[in-house]
Symmetry: C2
Subunit: 227 residues, 2 copies
C-alpha cells in the first residue's frame, strides 16, 4: 500500500504548487511512460552544481582534485539512497508490479533516482534558489561532518593506504616513456595494482605528476568497480 505523497512532501518540508509533479518524481519507469527519468536528469544536474558550489566555499584551500573527491563522496548512489531511506522515501514510491514484487522500493538505484527526481521537481515547481536551499538542508549533516583530512591526501598516498588497509601489494608504477626537450618533457607512467586487471596510464610534466595522475585514475576505476 503506497502512502499518500502529500504526507512525504510535508515531512520533507516541501509544498508543491503542482502536486502532480511531485507524484511524477516518485514514479519509477516500471510504472509506465510518465515516470521520473526526465526529472532525475534535471535533479542530478542541480545537485552536482549545488554541492560543488558549497564545497568551493567551504574549502578555500582544497585543490580541484580534492574538491572532486569530496563531491564524489557526497553525490553517489549509496549516499543518496541512505538519505532517501532516512526520509522513508521508499514507502511512497510508485512502482510497476514487477518492481513492487521484487522489492524495488528498497533498491539503492531506485531510491537514489527518486531523491534526485524530487530535486528536479522542486526546481521546476519553484526556482533555483528554493531548490538549492533545500538540497543544502538535506545534506547539512553530511556537509558539517566533512573534513579535509581524509581528502586532501594526494592520490598516490590514498591508493597506497587503500592497498595497505586491505593487506595487498603496493601499487606498482612504471615509466613507459619520456618525450620532448629538456624542461619541456612529458613523462608517461603506468600504474598497476593486484586487485584489478586494468592498468592505468597517464602523462605529466614530471614523473611524479604522471604517477599521481595514474594513481588518481586507478582510484576512479576502483570506485567504479566497488560501486
Amino acid at each position: 500500500m503506497i502512502k499518500p505523497p502529500q504526507q512525504l512532501a510535508e515531512k520533507l518540508g516541501l509544498h508543491f504548487n503542482d502536486p502532480g509533479l511531485f507524484i511524477t518524481a516518485l514514479t519509477h519507469r516500471s510504472k509506465g511512460a510518465k515516470n521520473n527519468e526526465r526529472l532525475e536528469f534535471l535533479g542530478d544536474s542541480i545537485l552536482g552544481f549545488v554541492i560543488a558550489h558549497k564545497l568551493y566555499d567551504l574549502f578555500p584551500e582544497a585543490d580541484e582534485g580534492t574538491l572532486s573527491r569530496l563531491r564524489a563522496s557526497l553525490v553517489n548512489q549509496t549516499t543518496l539512497a541512505t538519505i532517501a531511506r532516512e526520509h522513508h522515501i521508499g514507502d511512497y514510491l510508485v512502482l510497476g508490479s514487477g518492481e513492487l514484487k521484487s522489492g524495488g522500493y528498497r533498491r539503492d538505484s531506485i531510491l537514489s533516482d527518486a531523491l534526485e527526481s524530487i530535486m528536479g521537481a522542486l526546481l521546476k515547481d519553484q526556482d533555483i534558489e528554493t531548490c538549492r536551499q533545500w538540497i543544502l538542508q538535506l545534506f547539512s549533516d553530511k556537509l558539517n561532518q566533512l573534513s579535509l583530512d581524509n581528502w586532501s591526501k594526494d592520490p598516490k598516498t590514498l591508493l597506497q593506504e587503500l592497498m595497505q588497509a586491505r593487506q595487498l601489494e603496493l601499487p606498482e608504477y612504471t615509466l613507459l616513456s619520456m618525450s620532448g626537450l629538456a624542461h619541456q618533457q612529458t613523462f608517461k607512467v603506468s600504474c598497476r595494482i593486484s586487485m584489478i586487471k586494468e592498468t592505468t596510464i597517464a602523462t605529466g610534466i614530471s614523473r611524479k605528476k604522471a604517477e599521481q595522475a595514474a594513481a588518481e585514475q586507478m582510484l576512479a576505476l576502483l570506485k567504479k568497480e566497488t560501486k
Copy 2:
C-alpha cells in the same frame, strides 16, 4: 605579449567587481599555484546544470537518454574550445613559459578549461542568475541550432547508422544469459563492433532493452575514443 584582460571582459560583456578573479580564471596551472583549476571545477558544475535545465525546458518530449546526449553534444572540450576561439580567449591566457613556447594557448583543453573558469569566476563575483544568463547567451546559437532529429533516435539505430556511414560491419549483439522467473527475467547482452576491441555488456528487463543499453554504452565508448 598577453593582451589586457579588461579588454576581454568587455568583449564578453562582463564587468568584474573583483578583476583579480577574472585574471585567475585566465591563469593556467603552468604559471604557478594561483591558477584557474578551482574555478574550472566550479564553472564546469554550473555549466552542466544550466545546459541540462535549458534542454529540459526546450525539449519536453525528449527522454532522459536524449537529454544526456544533447547535453554531451554541447558540453564537451571541443565545443567549449570552439566557443573560446570565437572570443579569442587564447590571446588573453596567462601561461607558464613551457606552455607558452609549445603553443598552449591553442590547445583545446586549455581553452576549454579557461572558458569554464570564467564561468566559475562570474558565479563567485556575481550570482547564480547572472552567470546562468551569460552561459545561455554564450550558447544561444548552439541551442537554437539544436534539433531533436539527430538525438531522439534510439542508441541501436544511432550506432547502426554510425557504422553504415563509415562503411563498417554492423554491430553484433549476443545474448549472454537470461535469469529470473517468467515476467521478471533479466537479459544480459553484449555488443561488439569492428572499430574497437572492447565489448560492452548490459542487462535489461527485455532482450531489446538490454541491446539498447549495450549500444548506448558503445556510443559512450566511441565518444571517449574519438575525443
